[in-house]
Each structure stands twice: as C-alpha cells, then as structure tokens.
C-alpha cells in the first residue's frame, strides 16, 4: 500500500465538551500531521485529558468532530481504540507482570503477530536500556523504569496516532534522551504523536509543533521558534530573592513578572538590559536578592504569560 494512503492526520474540529456548567473543551481545533510530534501544553484543568479521552473514544463530544485519516473517531469509538495507542499519566497496572511479558502481552492484544512483537520488544528493551529488568516483576520496578516499560507497551505495536501523557515522568536524564529518540522514531514511521505535558522546557526540545491550551480553549499554536518569535526583542531577568524577602517594588521597565518560591522571573526589553542588571545588583547590595541571570526568553515565559500558571510549568532545569 502506498505510504500516502497510510499516513493519516488527526483532525480535531471545533470540539466542545461540557460537564454540567463547565466547558472543559470550548471549541478546540487542531491538526496533527503524520510523522509529527505535536505538544499539547496546559496547566491542570486546562482540558487536555478531556480532549484525549474524546480522541480515544472514552468520552463523547457535545459538539465538533475528530477524524483520523478517513475514520470518524466520534462515530466509531471501536476504530478509535484500534487506531490510537495511549500512554496515560498514571503508571501501568503491571505489578504482577514481568517487564518483557507486559510489553509482549500488550503487543499481542494490539494485534501484533508473535514474531513481529518479539522482535520489536527486544528492540525497545535494548533502545531504552532496560534489559537488566526485563524479567523483573512490575511491583519491584522503580517508577522511571516502570514508565519506560509503559512506553514500550504502548509503542510495541503502535497505532496511527500515539498519545503520550507525560512520558518522561520519573525517568532518569540519560534514559529520557533514549525515550525521546524512540518518540522521534514513531514519527519517522508515520504515526502522528500527541504529547501531553506540563514540562515546557522538555517539550520545547522534543516537539515539531505545539499548542497551548487553557480553560478549554486553544490559546496559541505553532512551532516553538514561531511562538518564541512573538517575544523577540525581550529578555528574561531571573532574580533569586533572599529567603523570606518580599517581592521588591518593580521598576517601570519590567513588562511582566511571576514569582515561584524565591525565584522572581521578569520580562524586559533588550534595550533595558543595562538598567535591569543595575537594578538586580542593587537588590543584591541591599541583601534582598542573592543572584540573578539574564537570558533569552524561553517558551516557558510565553506559557506562563498566556496561562498565568506558575505552579504547573516544568522547572527542573532552568537555564
């Protein structure tokens, strides 16, 4: 069969889903092309899970449509389950499965033929570097390894759309890199990948395009660089405040700010860089702050500005 006939985009059109008075999805439209890794970013309660559950046929939309290639997933939830692979945010229920066995059984349930499943299972175990645990029971696996086994279960025989909800939770940095390589390979094979995450910094490196959603609406969509281009000409001044220090009075050139713990992040115009450094040094001199860093604005700044959410943004490796 020609590749073009196998490569199906996911098309979500004007999707509406309400629970009583709350519109969890309020007219969301997006397209994920085959071969593309598409990030879905948003704080808790933004409507990400509601969107995903409608795609995989667990919830029925109140309005709008979802199609994968020629298939209407709203009209045919059985097709949705066959065509989509879903890694939920919660850990997989594999306490009494050996790691390799969990991958193999899921592959068979997903319709893979035994030799094909066995080959792919070996390949994933090797690629994710989890060989030393392949005969370990799920109950004895660390959270990170269990997460990787979950990823392998979902992708051993992947559907045309692979939905990954926070796939790297608990995974160590080295294996995180291996996991992202495998995510990319899914794209190379023609699957559309929908990556649901809070972790903006990681998403920025991993996705081709992304959407930021909040309160059921799509706020922005584009490549990471296109979204960042909106902030061209601005810089991020990050000030680490002294313990128990109040947020200092902000000078007029500060265009926006958020505070997480002692970390005060401000956005300034490039032209004000010298003034900003002077202000930060003055705070240190007054013992109100301990250090500062000036850098380019990141996707995280844009995310925070759009969603007003500071608690959910990934902030493991502020750069």
């Amino acid at each position: 069969m020609p590749a073009a006939e196998q490569d199906w985009p996911l098309r979500v059109r004007d999707l509406v889903k309400a629970f009583k008075e709350v519109r969890a999805n309020d007219g969301i439209s997006l397209t994920v092309e085959p071969g593309e890794v598409y990030g879905l970013l948003g704080p808790n309660g933004a409507g990400k899970s509601t969107l995903v559950k409608q795609i995989i046929g667990l919830l029925k939309p109140d309005g709008g449509g979802i199609a994968l290639g020629p298939h209407d997933l709203v009209a045919d939830p059985d097709a949705a389950r066959q065509l989509c692979s879903y890694l939920p945010q919660a850990q997989m229920p594999i306490e009494s499965f050996r790691a390799a066995e969990a991958i193999e059984i899921t592959g068979r349930i997903r319709g893979g033929r035994p030799p094909e499943v066995a080959r792919r299972r070996r390949e994933l175990i090797e690629a994710l570097d989890i060989g030393e645990w392949e005969r370990t029971m799920g109950a004895k696996l660390s959270g990170g390894v269990r997460r990787l086994v979950g990823f392998a279960m979902v992708t051993v025989c992947p559907g045309r759309l692979v939905i990954l909800d926070e796939p790297t939770n608990d995974v160590d940095p080295l294996r995180r890199r291996l996991l992202w390589e495998q995510v990319r390979r899914l794209g190379d094979y023609g699957a559309a990948v929908l990556l649901v995450t809070h972790n903006v910094l990681e998403a920025e490196k991993a996705v081709d395009r992304l959407a930021i959603i909040d309160r059921g609406r799509l706020l922005a969509e584009g490549t990471p660089s296109a979204l960042k281009a909106e902030d061209r000409g601005r810089l991020r001044l990050q000030v680490m405040l002294a313990p128990r220090a109040e947020t200092p009075e902000l000078p007029p050139f500060v265009q926006g700010h958020t505070r997480v713990g002692h970390n005060l992040m401000t956005v300034i115009a490039e032209a004000e860089a010298a003034h900003a450094i002077g202000w930060a040094q003055e705070l240190i001199g007054l013992r109100l702050a301990e250090e500062y860093a000036l850098g380019a604005t990141t996707l995280e700044d844009i995310y925070i500005r759009m969603t007003g959410d500071v608690g959910a943004a990934g902030r493991e490796t502020p750069t």
Partner: protein, 260 residues
C-alpha cells in the same frame, strides 16, 4: 534496526479478531492476578469447606435436612462471591489508581474483557464448588441425588452472579460507592438471604422479597439439582434467575458501550 511494523491500515473485525482479543484479555487478567489468583481460589475452597465443617462443630449432631441446606447453600456462595464482591472491588481499585482508562483504551471488543472475567470466575468458582461439595459428602454422608440440571443451575448461577457484579462495577463511576454497595451485599447475602436455610424461616414479606432477588433462586436451583424433595417452586426460580441474567447482561452491554 528498523523493525517497526508497517502501518496497520485495515481495521480488524470478525470472529478471529474476537477470539484473539479474548485470548489476549484472558492472558492479561490471569497474569495481572497471578500473585493472588491461587490464594483466592484456595481461600474460596477452604472457606466453603470451613463453613460446612463449622456447622458440625457448633451443633455436634446436625439434622440431615439442615446439613443438606447448608451444604448446598455454601456452594452458591463459593460460586458468586468473587464475581459479586471481588470483581466490583477490583474495578473500583482500577478507578482509584487511574488505570481504568488505559484498560478501556485497549483495542479489543469490550465483550472480550467481560468474557475473560467470566472465565476467571469459572476458574476460581468451580474447584471451590467441588471441594465444598466433597467435604460436605464426607462429613455428613449427604443423601445427594445429582441430576443433569446441575450443569445449567451452576452455569446460570455463576454467570448471573458475575454479570450482576460486572454491570454494577462499570455502571457506578464513584469507586467509594461501589465499595459501600459490595460491603452491603455481603451483609445482606449472609444475613438475610435464604441461601443456607429454608425460605419459610423468614418473615413473610422478606421471603417474598427473596423470591424476586437473585440469591435465593440461585440456591434453590442448585439445591434442586443435587437433592430430592427439598427444593420447591424450582421452575419459578429458573425464570427469576434467567430474568436477572438477561437484565444484568443488558445493563453490562449498555454500560460497556457508554461514553461519558
């Protein structure tokens, strides 16, 4: 290096798809219960046998009619307790641990998950039934008259008990409510259902209620298939039980196809 299979474009369907999915789901369920399935089966068998023996310890000499009632009633409890109580509690745990969505996102016909769970109940229930019956025979020298009706009576009892539990488990979205209802079911099943004693021991109105609920008809049909001259109005019990099996199947089918 590239062994990722080519895209599966055609959707699977038909009997072969159903059968493969059933085998996959049965393997999934048996493996996920691997650590405690043998223990559960053993506990079921021991508790059935224990119940039969305990009565002898308590009364010393047990009247034959009482021995017949208890021994045949215990069989019903060993058959339905997993499906009616443990099944819903397992589903409640899946909901609490947020693994429910993953299991329902698997690409299988949903009837295969129900069929696999039914099979698990047979695997646990039938040996327990055999052990309890064996112990009762050895201890009380029961005058059993086993008729071929034992097959439909046991099948219908096991099926109906499992499907009522299954439908309830999936119909109730809040796990805590499931847990409360199953606890109440244990209380009612052991205390106020005419399983181990004759129906006429109950006050009139409660006896009437029992005739329409599923547990008494289960006990009555199984007892009728193992004894002579003990069970009454057996045809009515079959009818009530059949109605419960149809209703629970319909409810389960409705719930399984439902999207929130």
């Amino acid at each position: 290096m590239t062994t990722l299979a080519p895209a599966r474009v055609a959707l699977r369907s038909g009997p072969g798809y159903w059968w493969d999915s059933y085998r996959g789901m049965l393997r999934w369920q048996l493996t996920s219960m691997r650590l405690w399935l043998p223990v559960t089966a053993m506990v079921q068998a021991i508790s059935g046998a224990g119940f039969v023996l305990a009565m002898g310890l308590f009364f010393g000499t047990v009247p034959p009619r009482a021995a017949l009632f208890v021994s045949t009633g215990v069989l019903v409890l060993t058959l339905v307790i997993v499906g009616l109580i443990l099944g819903p509690q397992l589903v409640a745990a899946q909901r609490m641990e947020h693994t429910y969505d993953f299991l329902w996102s698997l690409p299988v016909p949903r009837t295969t998950a129900a069929a696999a769970w039914l099979t698990v109940n047979f695997i646990i229930g039938l040996p327990a039934l055999a052990v309890a019956l064996g112990v009762a025979l050895l201890r009380y020298d029961l005058p059993l008259h086993v008729s071929p009706a034992i097959v439909p009576a046991v099948l219908l009892t096991l099926y109906t008990g499992t499907m009522i539990g299954y439908a309830m488990a999936h119909a109730i979205a809040k796990p805590m409510i499931t847990v409360i209802i199953t606890q109440a079911t244990i209380f009612l099943a052991f205390g106020f259902s005419a399983i181990n004693f004759p129906l006429d021991q109950l006050p009139g109105w409660l006896a009437e209620v029992n005739e329409w609920l599923p547990l008494y008809p289960m006990a009555n049909t199984v007892r009728a298939a193992l004894t002579q001259g003990v069970a009454e109005e057996v045809a009515r019990s079959y009818l009530v039980l059949a109605a419960w099996s149809v209703a629970s199947t319909a409810l389960a089918a409705g719930v399984l196809g439902r999207r929130g």
